[in-house]
């Protein structure tokens, strides 16, 4: 072979309308950073809130326009080898996830912005740098300092989450993983009350997250060694081109990359961070994480499982089946023993991650649509649930111990009733979105998952039954037991928080009664572009 003349510079083909939603969110985050630098402190909270919500609504409109611009973008087709080297895949699942993330992000931000009459957000500390319990901390609160940086940080996280299911190569996926994780590590450590717990949660999340990123990166390196490319299309092609047989690089690489992604959804045995971080982080951030991180990570898992490593599925699916079974069982069983509301919801979210994994393992278009539906249904419910947790107080702090919720149904029937309804949704009782979502993933698994799918569904059904006990216990506690002491109070939320909780609950109800519109949309959006 003679020396090949190097190709001239090839510009990336960019469809700006297709990536406009991402650009809007990242752009708004940058504007938010500038607001922090130049706007006087008293006006920052309102301005940041306006920018965040407006940009997310705008991004949603842009997503509607982007549906007309589906396809691969931000790259080019290599002339000599006709390989398609594109960084982003704007397709049905990506846009569906982006839309869901943007809407759930609006609700999350509205709850984060709750002030309860104070200067800044009630959930966030006045000064993140002050030592917990120090005079400086008290002085900062008195001086009216606020941590309004949480809004641009949240926007960065949402941007990374929107990017996560959209990327078309492993490097892009790694960057998206970091872009969404880094702001969450910071947000977790900024609670106003019980700050040591919050900082511990942040540090744990950061260290374990860094390890999982390292796993992901190492897996990426091994897969690159196997396929000679990081693009999902090349990866899939390389697997189908080579002779069948266990390849050390492929199996180990796929396994390590999955570890990185399964960590983000909190699947067992990579779940150790979930309860501690959910408990320690400020409650609105916990709700935001539980809904949006999970959705984004499942989007990325779908893309990897259905586009990148689809041809190699028989080499890694057994490992993921084991993970799914463990996740369902551990999540369900351990949630029984919890006495703290936030930890209970954390373990329940682990169990839910297991149910969604069952849908992922269906290896079918119906599997994709059921997963898309599940994460949206669960996301709206969990945001509303954590929004309610922020309202129940004792001595100024959040009353998260279950005993403090006893008898809440008598003193505050609306709050307790809403919580009970959401609990029914988590349990998967008919007329709630939880039922439809569980039915969809289980039906997909039985339909195309074969014998393993059926076994998974049986285990899933048993675990759902176990979790029903957990949620029923909370409902019984709220409505049929006497309050331990009457100093537990429920704060009156502002319009924003009320709106967020109401919308979350309404969607939980609507998706349970008339799920067909969203199911249809998820069905139509379940086709990946390659």
């Amino acid at each position: 072979m003679t020396a090949v003349a190097p190709a001239a510079f090839q510009q990336a083909n960019i469809d700006y309308l297709a990536v406009l939603p991402l650009l809007i969110v990242f752009g708004a985050a940058l504007v938010g950073v500038l607001v922090e630098a130049f706007v006087p402190r008293e006006r920052r909270h309102t301005i940041q809130l306006t920018i965040s919500v407006a940009s997310l609504v705008l991004a949603f409109v842009a997503i509607l326009f982007a549906t007309k611009h589906q396809g691969l973008t931000f790259g080019y087709t290599d002339g000599a080898t006709s390989r398609r080297l594109f960084a982003l895949a704007i397709d049905g699942p990506a846009l569906f996830m982006q839309g869901a993330l943007v809407l759930m992000g609006v609700l999350g931000i509205l709850i984060m912005a709750e002030r309860f009459g104070g200067v800044g957000s009630d959930a966030f500390t006045a000064s993140g740098a002050s030592t917990p319990g120090s005079p400086i901390e008290a002085a900062s609160a008195r001086a009216g300092l606020i941590t309004s940086e949480v809004f641009p940080l949240t926007l960065f996280a949402i941007g990374g989450m929107m990017l996560f299911p959209t990327v078309n190569d492993l490097i892009g996926m790694f960057i998206a993983l970091e872009v969404l994780s880094l702001p969450l590590y910071i947000l977790s450590g900024l609670a106003r009350r019980r700050r040591l717990l919050s900082q511990e949660a942040s540090l744990k999340y950061f260290l374990l997250g860094a390890f999982s990123s390292a796993f992901f990166l190492f897996g990426t390196a091994l897969l690159y060694g196997y396929a000679g490319s990081v693009y999902f299309g090349d990866l899939s092609k390389a697997v189908s081109d080579t002779s069948l047989g266990l390849n050390g690089l492929l199996v180990a690489g796929a396994f390590l990359v999955f570890v990185g992604l399964l960590f983000k959804v909190g699947a067992v045995p990579f779940h150790a961070w979930t309860p501690d971080v959910y408990q320690g982080a400020p409650t609105p951030v916990t709700g935001f994480m539980a809904a949006c991180t999970k959705a984004a990570a499942f989007g990325a898992i779908l893309r990897l499982a259905y586009v990148g490593l689809d041809t190699a599925s028989w080499q890694w699916q057994n490992a993921v089946i084991i993970v799914a079974v463990l996740t369902m069982i551990v999540g369900a069983v351990l949630s029984v023993t919890q006495t703290d509301m936030k930890r209970l919801l954390a373990y329940s979210s682990i169990a839910h991650a297991g149910f969604v994994l069952v849908g992922v393992l269906a290896f079918d278009q119906r599997g994709v649509s059921s997963v898309l539906f599940y994460v949206v249904a669960y996301g709206f419910s969990i945001i509303a649930a954590f929004g309610l947790v922020t309202l129940v107080r004792q001595d100024g702090g959040e009353a998260t111990h279950l005993s403090q919720w006893a008898g809440l149904g008598k003193s505050h029937p609306v709050i307790a009733g809403t919580m009970a309804f959401l609990m029914l949704a988590f349990a998967g009782i008919p007329l709630t979105s939880g039922f439809v979502a569980k039915f969809a993933v289980f039906a997909a698994a039985i339909g195309t998952g074969g014998a393993t799918g059926t076994v998974l569904v049986v285990i899933g059904a048993v675990c759902s039954a176990i979790t029903v006990f957990v949620y029923a216990r909370v409902i019984v506690l709220m409505f049929f037991s006497e309050p331990a002491d009457d100093t537990v109070e429920v704060l009156v939320p502002s319009v924003g928080t009320t709106f967020a909780i109401a919308i979350g609950t309404l969607i939980t109800f609507a998706l349970g009664v008339v799920p067909s519109s969203l199911l249809d949309l998820a069905d139509r959006a379940s086709q990946f572009v390659r």
Partner: protein
């Protein structure tokens, strides 16, 4: 194919890089570990240079050995050179498990690399293409074309990461000044008002043959004055003992006494 000079360079630098990596793992002191890492990084940079990736080699030395290693050293400085990690195992059998996994991973990599077949023709073709690329566009331009062409999205999105990191550092570590800083005049006024150390803190000891901030001054009865040395030095246990200086003083006094008697 590999030239003699390249082979010689590899067989000298290769063991050095491995030695540095082993030093990173086994060094007891954090500074030594950091230096071992720096050695490995520099050697890798030289490897890149040998492989005709000039830009990458220089960047490797600049960014990793220069900037990143400096940050490591800063961290060690902040944490304190003396602090050493507890070597106690908190998770039982962790060391053995990690040992088994490392052996497994090493076996996997060696096994896979062992299967690689070197085809002289393909290698030569690759080298030719590399040389042609380097001649036509140059090393730096080649990377620029990748960054601003194929990988432009990844390159741009990384900026979000850097901004988040900067913002996070400010949020978590920057303390806004709430109370105005006291001026020297205000400190002096406060000392007078509280009638404590009105003349300022006592200076450290000045002796006939010794004068340093870590030696406390002596009170009239011969005890060291605690306030005369910085509390940081006291906390670090770096305050010098004064017994020796008192002995010298006594010795000089005795000589003067003897001189008078003569």
């Amino acid at each position: 194919m590999t030239s003699t000079a390249e082979a010689v360079a590899f067989w000298i630098l290769g063991p050095l890089a491995v030695l540095g990596a082993l030093g990173l793992i086994f060094a007891r002191k954090a500074v030594h570990a950091a230096l071992g890492m720096a050695l490995t990084m520099v050697t890798l940079g030289v490897f890149y240079l040998i492989e005709k990736a000039d830009f990458l080699g220089v960047i490797q030395i600049f960014v990793y050995t220069g900037a990143v290693m400096m940050i490591f050293l800063f961290v060690i400085m902040l944490v304190g050179v003396d602090s050493s990690d507890s070597l106690l195992e908190t998770i039982k059998g962790q060391r053995w498990w990690s040992f088994i996994f490392v052996i497994g991973l090493a076996g996997l990599l060696i096994f896979t690399l062992g299967q690689v077949t070197f085809d002289a023709k393909t290698v030569q073709a690759g080298m030719d293409r590399l040389v042609a690329n380097n001649n036509a566009t140059g090393n730096v331009t080649g990377i620029a074309e990748k960054i601003f062409g194929q990988y432009v999205w990844a390159f741009e999105v990384t900026s979000a990461l850097l901004i988040t990191a900067a913002l996070g550092a400010m949020v978590l570590a920057h303390r806004e000044r709430i109370v105005p800083k006291r001026t020297q005049a205000e400190w002096a006024a406060r000392r007078v008002k509280e009638n404590q150390d009105v003349a300022g803190l006592p200076a450290p000891g000045v002796y006939a043959r010794h004068n340093a901030v870590d030696t406390p001054a002596l009170l009239p009865d011969g005890r060291p004055a605690a306030k005369s040395v910085s509390r940081v030095l006291v906390a670090r246990d770096q305050v010098a003992r004064t017994d020796g200086y008192r002995d010298v003083e006594r010795y000089i006094e005795r000589e003067i006494e003897e001189g008078r008697q003569k």
